[in-house]
């Protein structure tokens, strides 16, 4: 190149071509300095050590969450010489490094998302119990996946599990997990629940599950979510944003479905309740028939009683009207030739009359 004259534009183009070829992507770990966000979108910062400092430029979409100067971060990016603003590295991803920094970054993000209400209990939805279809987001090679499938199969059957294989740690993990949630949310037939799981690990290993965009994707999911990350002591922000969290992948399966043995026992109990129900209905029917029978008997008896009273009443009336009863009181019936005499004018002297008294009849002659 010696002796060749270049314009500034030519030099920038040539250098960028060389950088693209030699360093298409670099990963630099260092201490964050001069971190600032411009117009809510553009991110500028330096990474430094004791002897050097490098400038970086990117967008907020590459951020794992809020960051502060002094944090140790690992940045993946592309070296670039800008026509006007000089050299910087264009950021593709940033990850906090080291337990202290990761925890601090997670605390800052947790505070921010808490203020936005992403962890509010009122936002939590109830997962269908048991679900008929699940969208499982996990690494197919992980023990977490194997544990979840094994425990789920031991407890319950008939569920369709759609597995979306993702990286669960490293640079690619956040984008994979977000894509998987988006995939399930865009299907015509939505699954009943999304389960996101991975096994335990260091703070670095689990960092993707506290990445801001991942936490937001979990929170915004159309489908109820269950997140189970790591061991019981591990807690990621994605778990806080989920509708339900489980302490381990196995625990996720336990929360999601009932146990076959419990269901078999419940069925046995229900069978007994059903038999008891039918017997109760038979008893109720018998009782109903018995009640109706008693009612009919009562009605017949009442009717008979009324008729008997009527008869007695008529009998008493007949007794009152009976001429014999009147004769007993001292009266007499006088007949002439069979006809009852009602007037003295009906009889003539010498005629034979019959006088009927209560205990018999005697004859007499009119004078």
């Amino acid at each position: 190149m010696e002796g060749i004259e270049l314009s500034p534009s030519d030099f920038v183009a040539l250098l960028n071509q060389t950088l693209d070829y030699a360093y298409p992507s670099v990963t630099i770990v260092g201490e964050l300095a001069n971190f600032r966000i411009s117009r809510g979108k553009w991110v500028y910062f330096d990474l430094k050590d004791d002897f050097a400092s490098v400038k970086f430029f990117g967008t907020i979409y590459a951020l794992p969450g809020p960051l502060e100067d002094g944090m140790t971060v690992s940045v993946v990016g592309k070296p670039h010489l800008h026509d006007l603003y000089g050299f910087s590295i264009q950021v593709s991803s940033i990850q906090p490094v080291g337990e202290g920094t990761i925890k601090k970054a997670a605390d800052l993000l947790a505070k921010k998302l808490q203020a936005e209400g992403l962890f509010d209990v009122e936002r939590k939805r109830i997962l269908p119990y048991p679900p008929e279809t699940i969208g499982l987001i996990a690494s197919l090679q992980s023990a977490a996946y194997a544990d979840f499938i094994k425990v789920l199969g031991a407890r319950y059957g008939g569920i369709v599990i759609n597995v979306y294989d993702v990286q669960v740690q490293g640079e690619q993990a956040p984008a994979d997990i977000i894509s998987a949630i988006k995939y399930f949310s865009e299907q015509a037939d939505l699954v009943d629940a999304i389960v996101i799981t991975r096994g335990g690990g260091s703070a670095d290993d689990l960092a993707a599950f506290s990445h801001e965009q991942v936490v937001r994707a979990v929170s915004a999911s159309r489908i109820p979510t269950l997140v189970a990350i790591g061991h019981e002591v591990d807690l990621s922000l994605a778990e806080l944003a989920a509708d339900a969290r489980a302490s381990t992948p196995s625990n996720a399966a336990e929360l999601l479905v009932p146990d076959k043995k419990d269901l078999a026992l419940q069925l046995k109990n229900k069978s007994q309740w059903l038999q008891k129900g039918l017997l109760t209905k038979l008893e109720q029917a018998k009782l109903w028939i018995s009640d109706r029978s008693n009612q009919i008997n009562d009605e017949i008896l009442n009717s008979l009683k009324v008729q008997k009273e009527n008869l007695n009443s008529q009998k008493r009336l007949l007794e009152i009207l009976n001429p014999i009863a009147i004769l007993k009181r001292g009266y007499a019936l006088v007949r002439l030739e069979g006809e009852v005499l009602k007037s003295i004018k009906q009889a003539k002297p010498k005629q034979l009359i019959k006088v009927q008294l209560s205990d018999g009849e005697l004859s007499a002659r009119v004078e």
Binding site: P130, E132, L140, I149, L152, G153, Y156, G157, G158, I159, V160, I161, N162, V163, Y164, D165, S179, Y183, K260, L263, A264, L267, K270, S271, W273, L274, Q275, K276, G277, L278, T280, K281, L282, Q284, A285, W288
Partner: protein, 62 residues
């Protein structure tokens, strides 16, 4: 016979049948029909419990 109904639908129907037997309805013919339906559902659910396997579908990313 119950293949078109999901396990959850059958469980719900069974629970409703059991609840019906708690009612004051003394229609014995209906009670016998409901009891028969209940025993069919229990047999179907027991069979599913014993035989149903989870189905795993791996999603191919485009």
């Amino acid at each position: 016979m119950n293949k078109e109904l999901s396990t959850i639908q059958l469980q719900t129907e069974l629970d409703e049948l059991i609840l019906w037997f708690e009612s004051d309805n003394v229609d014995l013919d209906l009670a016998i029909k409901k009891y028969q339906r209940g025993t069919e559902i229990i047999a179907e659910l027991q069979s599913r419990l014993k035989t149903a396997e989870n189905i795993i579908k791996k999603i191919t990313k485009s």
